[in-house]
Amino acid sequence: MRIKVWGARGSVPAPGPEMNRYGGNTSCVEVALASGEHIILDAGTGIRTLGLDLTTSPHVNILLTHLHLDHIQGLMFFPPCFRADADITIWGPASPEASLEDRVARYISAPLSPVEVRELPCDVSFRDTPPSEWQLGSATIRCEAINHRGPTLGFRITEGDTTLCYIPDHEPALGTVLADNEPEWISGYDLARDADLLIHDCQYADDEYPLHVGWGHSGMTDALTFASRVGARRLLLFHHDPLHADGFLDHLHAAARRRWGELGGDLVAVEMAMEGAELEVGPVVAPAGIATSA
């Protein structure tokens, strides 16, 4: 399994020269399975440039964690949407209020959009994520509701011996102490348990988090503690705050590695998501963090 980060920013696109290295596009990760199929995680603005690359792959599965704008904004500018030969399946959280298509159409419709979903030339279908595992190509997908503002999913993608977990918006420490809590009471625990790569929310530095409690995102130490508790082998810190320029994120990365080392982990196992970065994901023998999931 191989992944490519097309957008690592949270909340709102953050263009500008001071953001060039980590990138300004919002959440989008491409997963290339060993079998050749591709899965797209979220449709933030990063999906636009991903779509430019998709010249020979007309069948696309997009998994949406939730429908906040930074996770769907790129859909309307996703080039395959405007190709008649493209077959796009969009998976997302179910709601008793309205279908997934109707909820996405609130964005892809007037007055916010010049086109309507029904006018897209591609063959697009909308599917509620099922409560049990399902298969996409050679991958087994599982999702669970996790703690964010509004109905939000995390995804666990397993292909062979390799497991990727994607939880870009997550505040598992809200109202609790992650280091002490029993696993069964930690949001997202089962989903992320023993993942070879965990892509996880790290929107805030630790000194910023107290001003944002309840906003649905994690501070750096909470992200590391979560990764450690679930026994993640590698951690990719994701969903960077739009105010965090490259220099700030460099410092945050250094601090995260120091903290991870204090937790007993392998320093190189903690990385910052960077637009354009590609990572090979495979099984790793030992967890990098202090705690195993036992």
Binding site: A145, N147, G175, W185, D190
Partner: protein
């Protein structure tokens, strides 16, 4: 290796976090009406912390704490606000007596179902107040 308990649904996790943060005595039960958590205020009322007792089946926690009706008889499980909230997906309220840290104590109890899907309740939150015989709620 100790077997791990199954991951709780998110709505129960959030409910527990809420109950941890308030000073009203409260229980949290799962879809089987098993007691899966109570907060420090409830622990003070009962004289034992949840960490001391752990998860309890409905039979276990009712035999430990009650409740009892006005005649001192145990309230049937089916009649408990907790059971009614989980089973019927409706709030329920009752006045009864429990074994507290200070002996037998009359309390009021309100149970609220936690419903996150069409499949029914995933549990309930139960709040307790000391009962005022004049019908007023005690502080």
């Amino acid at each position: 290796m100790k077997a791990m308990a199954a991951q709780k649904p998110l709505e129960l996790i959030l409910a527990r976090n809420l109950l941890t943060s308030i000073s009203t005595p409260a229980f949290l039960v799962d879809q089987d009406a098993a007691l899966v958590f109570y907060n420090e205020a409830a622990g003070a009322l009962l004289g034992r912390s949840f960490e001391d007792v752990g998860r309890m089946s409905p039979e276990q926690w009712t035999s430990t704490y009650g409740p009892f009706d006005a005649n001192g008889k145990p309230v049937e499980l089916d009649e408990l606000p907790t059971t009614r909230a989980v089973r019927d997906g409706r709030p329920a309220h009752a006045v009864f007596t429990i074994r507290s840290a200070n002996g037998m104590q009359q309390i009021e109890s309100s149970a609220f179902p936690i419903v996150a899907s069409e499949e029914g309740s995933s549990g309930a939150m139960i709040f307790f107040w000391p009962h005022d015989r004049n019908g007023r709620e005690s502080a």
